[in-house]
């Protein structure tokens, strides 16, 4: 096997482990067949684009599977939105980066709304209470930071103001998100109800 053909099995390692375990040998065999059949150049021409498209795509699909979806999505959206807002408010990075991160968070939430909605529709009283409790705590953080902000605000913008603004804004968005999610989460049906419907 030529050196360049030995590269392909190494690149196959970049696929998600589950896909690699299931189809890794088939991919390598397929590439070898392709190279033997059409030549190495044709094999690489076809495979390079395939690698460029499918490696990120399959990783994204793995993230979006039912098992990982809701939690991973929420964390991803939260991290993107937080980084975006922090960047916008602190001017630590050019505003465009903050805007891109924030838009990415919104786009992810919009495109994956059905997955998020499905996760919200699962009846779970404990999860409902937890979401509402976190929402209430974040609402408290928001109110506290706002009161402190009003009490400490002066003529000039200080680093304390920046920190309070970031904490308050994030707590506000978080409180809204968790309270809405908590209210939309159905309670677990009572055993009596289940027996009645069963």
């Amino acid at each position: 096997m030529e050196d360049r053909q030995r590269l392909y099995p190494s690149l196959v390692r970049l696929y998600p482990s589950a896909f690699r375990r299931e189809y890794g040998d088939d991919l390598v065999q397929h590439f070898a067949d392709l190279a033997a059949d059409r030549g190495a150049r044709a094999a690489w021409t076809r495979t390079t684009l395939d690698l460029a498209i499918t490696i990120p795509r399959y990783h994204l699909e793995r993230i979006m599977t039912e098992q990982h979806s809701a939690t991973t999505l929420n964390i991803t959206i939260g991290v993107l939105a937080t980084a975006g807002l922090a960047s916008l408010m602190t001017d630590l990075y050019p505003g465009v980066i903050g805007m891109v991160l924030f838009v990415a968070a919104v786009a992810l939430a919009v495109t994956q709304r059905s997955t998020l909605a499905r996760a919200l529709r699962v009846p779970d009283s404990r999860l409902r209470h937890r979401r509402l409790r976190i929402g209430a705590i974040l609402a408290g953080v928001f109110v506290t930071s706002y009161v402190v902000y009003l009490a400490t605000i002066g003529d000039s913008w200080t680093s304390t103001s920046t920190v309070l603004t970031i904490i308050g804004t994030l707590a506000m968005f978080g409180a809204i998100g968790f309270l809405v999610a908590g209210l939309l989460t159905p309670r677990t049906p009572d055993r009596d109800q289940l027996a009645g419907t069963g």
Partner: protein
């Protein structure tokens, strides 16, 4: 178990439909599927290895295709995995073919003669 409604799978992504069509001719391994797709599409659809196996994975997950437990030809490379259509896969493939032929009919009717 009741079989899902074939129309609930429509419209099929292009790659999935091409692979299903390739499997209508019989059991095939991955490389043969790729060759059949190229032939049936007149060379327009050229699937890379991961696109092909990703598509096969989705078809197997949706129970439209299945992997054969045995190799059809004893002298063939035993490492190759063969796939075939399931009954549901056949029905979905037929439903997609009907949908597309209806679309083609409309296009042919509406377009000026000579264009379609």
């Amino acid at each position: 178990m009741t079989e899902p409604d074939p129309t609930s799978f429509l419209p099929l992504p292009q790659a999935q439909f091409h692979v299903l069509v390739a499997l209508t001719e019989g059991e095939r391994h991955g490389y043969a599927i790729m060759q059949a797709v190229e032939t049936s599409s007149g060379g327009v659809v050229r699937m890379g290895p991961a696109t092909l196996y990703g598509t096969l994975k989705r078809l197997v997950d949706q129970r439209l295709a299945e992997e054969l437990a045995r190799r059809p030809a004893a002298d063939d490379d035993q490492r190759r995995r063969y796939y075939r259509l399931t009954r549901l896969g056949e029905r979905v493939c037929a439903a997609e073919a009907d949908r597309l032929s209806g679309l083609v009919r409309i296009a042919r009717t509406n377009l000026r003669p000579g264009l379609a």
